[in-house]
Point group: C3
Chain length 325, copies 3
C-alpha cells in the first residue's frame, strides 16, 4: 500500500525559491512598506473576529530559529503563522549541537533538512540572517541580529504611528524622537532607517556614552543630549528600555541621575506637539525610563504597539510566502 | 493581491467576551458540575476511538501560561485542546521578561496580544488567575495557584469516583478521606470544596503540623490525627504526595515515623467500606505515602484518575469556549 | 448542548493495538526494509513540492519522549509527523517528575494518558524502548537507547547509500567501513546489524580502546586498527563524531595522535573503491575526525544523509501507523 500522495492543499504559485527576505528595511521601498501596511489592515481585522484563523498559508511551514532567547517575539511570529494555518517548527539552541563546536553553516544545513519555507532568525551576532540567505532556498526574516536591526519591531512601531496619530497624513515633516540607550538598540537603528526613508526627521536623545557619533551621518537624523530639546515639537517620542547591566559597565551615570535627566514624564511631554504619541517597544521599566502614569495615559500607544505585533508579522509572512508574485 | 479573508471555519456563536472561567469550584453549581461530567462522558468516548480527534474547537487558540513548571499538567491541557482541533500557544516563564522586573499586568497584556481565546494559568502565588480575569477578555482556567486551588484535578478525582465507585448513587452520605500534607495541598482544598458542595463528608488526616485549623471551619469537614479513625468506613481514601523537602523545614517528624503512622496500606484499608476506592493525585512516592502493592491493587483507581485527566480538561475547554450558551 | 462527536476524519483501519514497533533492525526482515525504502521514495518526492504536506496521518498523534536531549533528532521526527498532518506532543524530561523519584513505569503510564498513537523514545539507558512496549498499546520507535541502537539513523544512512552509490545493485559483496569511536556508538551498532542483514561486509576501525572485541562475533564484521587497511577497496566509509570528553577518561591517546592515525582525508580515501562514498552521521568536528574539504567534496553524501532524515522518518511513522495492514 502506497501512502496518499495528494497534498493537503492544491499546489499553487508561491514565492518559493525567489529568495525574498526581510533582513532590514533599507532593502524595502516605501511603496512596499505601504503595501505591507494594507495587508496588515486585513490581518488586524481578522484578529478581531471570533474565529481568528484564515487558511492563507495552509501547507507551509515556518521555522523559528532563536539563537538568542526571546519568548515573546518568538510566540508572536508563531501565532502569526498559525493564525494563517501554517505549521511551525521551533528551534532554540539551548540543548543543540552549536555548543558542540559545529559550524553555523553545518547547523543551518541540518536544520534546513526540515524544509521549512521560511525561517525567522534571531542571533546575538549582527549579519547572521544575511549569511543564512546564502545557505538555504527558504525566505529569511530577521527577528533581531546583534545591535544591527529588528525590522518587524520597526514596522509595528511605524504601523502604530500611522494608525494612532490623529489626522495622519504621512511621515513628511514629522519629528520623531527616540530616547535612551541608542548605542545598544537594534530597535532604534531599524526605526531610524525606516522613518527617514518615509520622510520623517529623527532625533536621537541620551547621554553621550549611549549615543553613537556615526548615527549622525544618516540623512534626516539629529543627535541631542537634552531631553527637553529632543521632545520639543515632536510628533512621537519613544522611550527605550534601560538595560541596567549597562550601568555596571560604566556607560551610565547613576540611575538616579539618568532618571532625572532622561525619564519620559508628563511634564516633558507638555513640550511636544499637542497630539504627540508616547511609545515604548517593551518590556518597560516603569518609573525608570518612562513614568508609569504616562505609560497608561491617553497619549500612550504602548498597548497598540503590542497589539499590532501579530498582524504586522502575519502580513510579513504572507507577503514573503505568497503575496509578492 | 489581498490575502484570503474567509475564516478557516464559519463564524459561530461562542462564549467569548462573556468572562466565563474556571477559577475554583465554589463558583460552579452542582448542576454545572454534573453537566460537565456528561460532556466528559462524550470526550472519554472520543478518546477510545482510533481517530481521537474532533473538530469541536477548530479555529480557537488555547494559551498555556505556566509561571510554575508542570510538564504533565500542561501537556494534558494541550492534548485536550488539540484533540478538539484548537491551536495551542505554550508560554513558560523560563526565558521571559518576568525576571526583567516587568509587572504581571504588563506581561499578561503582552501575552494577550497573541489573542488566545482561553488561557490555562499556573502560578506559585494564590489569586493570580483571578487577577488575570481583569486584564483580558479571554476565558481563564486555573491550573493551580499556590496552595489555593487546582480545580481540574478535583474535577477529575470526582469524576473518577463517580465512574468507579460500585453502584454509584451520588455523594450524599459518603465519607471521603484525604491523608497527608493537607497544609500545602491545593488539590486537597479544591477537592474538599467540591465534595462538600456535592454532599459528602470530608475527613482530613495527617500530623498536626500539616493539618491546618482553619479548614475545620468548612461545613462537612472533620480533622483527624489517627489514620485508622480517618479511614474507618470511608468510601474513598486519597493519599497525597509527601514532599520530602517539608521535613527539612521541621514540619515533619522523621520519615520513618510518618510512614509508620500515615502510610496507606492494605491493612488500614481493611477498616474502610468494603468497596472503598484508593486514590492518589500523583506523582506517587511508592512505599512512602502509599504502599506500592496497594497502588496497583483492584481497589486503586490511580490509573483511572490519570486516564480521566484529558477527557475532563476537554470538557472544561469545550464548556468555557462554546458550551455554555 | 452536546459537543460535535463526529471525528475530524473518518474512522479507518490502522495498525493500532497490533504492537508494531521499530526498536532495532534485527526484528525487521530485509523485505520490510526494502518496502520501507519504497515508501521513503514517495515521501522524498513530497518534500520537493511547494506544498510539503499530505493528509496521510490526519487525526493521529505522535508523542516525542526525549529523556536524553537531542533537538535535531526530535525536530526531524516532529516534522515527519506534521508533514503527514499528525499532531505532535513533545515531552522532554527537564522539568518533569522523573527527578522526583517516580518510577519509569508510573511516568510512562501518566504520559500514556495523553493517548498518543506512537511514541518516539530516546533514553540514556539501553533497553528502555523495549520496556515501554509492555506498558502501552501505542507503537514505539527507538530514537536512540544508550549505546545500543539508533535504527532510524541506520535506515537513513542505508537509504542514502542506495540513493547515491553509482549503479547501485544491492549490498551483496559491498565493503562498508565505520571509523572512530565504535565502542560508544549506537549508530555503528544499528548500522552493522542492518548492513550485514542486507549482505554487506562491515569493517570497524579505530584505536583498540574504542573498538570492542564482542562486535567481532557478528557474522560479516571485521575489526581493524589501521585506517589504510580498513579503507582499502571500501564502497563507503563513515567517520563517527569524536566525543572529546572520551579523551579525559583515558580512552584516547592525544588528540593529535588520533587525528594523525584516524582522520578521514582525501589521501586515505584514494585507497577506497573509485566510486566510494564518504559519510558522517553528524554533527561533524571538521578537521578532527574528517577533513573539512573532504566533507564538502563530491564523494561526500553528508548533506544527503541530513536531507533523507525527514523522508525516512515519514516512512517509518506511516508504516507503523497505517501501512502494514
Amino acid at each position: 500500500m502506497t501512502p496518499a500522495i495528494t497534498p493537503t492543499v492544491p499546489e499553487r504559485a508561491s514565492t518559493q525559491g525567489k529568495k525574498q527576505h526581510l533582513l532590514d528595511l533599507q532593502e524595502w521601498s516605501a511603496e512596499e512598506v505601504w503595501a505591507l501596511f494594507e495587508t496588515t489592515d486585513v490581518m488586524a481585522q481578522v484578529m478581531t473576529r471570533t474565529i481568528k484563523k484564515v487558511p492563507a498559508l495552509q501547507g507551509f511551514t515556518v521555522g523559528t530559529l532563536f539563537f538568542e532567547n526571546s519568548t515573546r517575539t518568538r510566540l508572536s511570529f508563531e501565532r502569526a503563522a498559525r493564525a494563517q494555518s501554517a505549521d511551525v517548527i521551533s528551534f532554540a539552541t539551548g540543548g543543540s549541537s552549536m555548543s558542540k563546536g559545529e559550524s553555523l553553516k553545518d547547523t543551518l544545513r541540518t536544520i534546513d533538512a526540515l524544509k521549512a519555507d521560511l525561517y525567522v532568525v534571531r542571533h546575538q551576532a549582527a549579519g547572521v540572517p544575511y549569511q543564512l540567505t546564502r545557505w538555504t532556498d527558504a525566505a529569511i526574516v530577521n527577528a533581531g541580529d546583534g545591535r544591527r536591526a529588528h525590522p518587524t519591531q520597526a514596522l509595528l512601531d511605524t504601523y502604530t504611528f500611522r494608525e494612532c496619530s490623529p489626522g495622519f497624513d504621512g511621515f513628511e515633516g514629522k519629528k520623531l524622537t527616540i530616547v535612551g540607550d541608542i548605542a545598544h538598540s537594534r530597535v532604534a537603528r531599524s526605526n531610524l532607517r525606516l522613518w527617514t526613508k518615509l520622510g520623517a526627521q529623527v532625533t536621537l536623545c541620551g547621554p553621550s556614552t549611549l549615543l553613537p557619533h556615526e548615527l549622525e551621518q544618516f540623512p534626516g537624523v539629529t543627535r541631542c543630549f537634552r531631553l527637553e530639546e529632543a521632545v520639543e515639537g515632536a510628533h512621537a517620542v519613544m522611550a527605550l528600555r534601560l538595560q541596567l547591566e549597562r550601568m555596571q559597565k560604566g556607560l551610565l551615570p547613576s540611575l538616579a541621575e539618568y532618571q532625572a535627566r532622561y525619564r519620559l514624564t508628563p511634564e516633558v511631554m507638555a513640550l511636544a506637539d499637542a497630539q504627540a504619541l508616547v511609545m515604548h517597544p517593551g518590556p518597560m521599566n516603569r518609573d525608570v525610563e518612562i513614568d508609569g502614569e504616562l505609560a497608561d495615559s491617553e497619549r500612550s500607544v504602548v498597548e497598540r504597539q503590542v497589539a499590532n505585533g501579530v498582524p504586522v508579522r502575519m502580513a510579513v509572512l504572507y507577503t514573503l510566502l505568497v503575496g509578492r508574485q
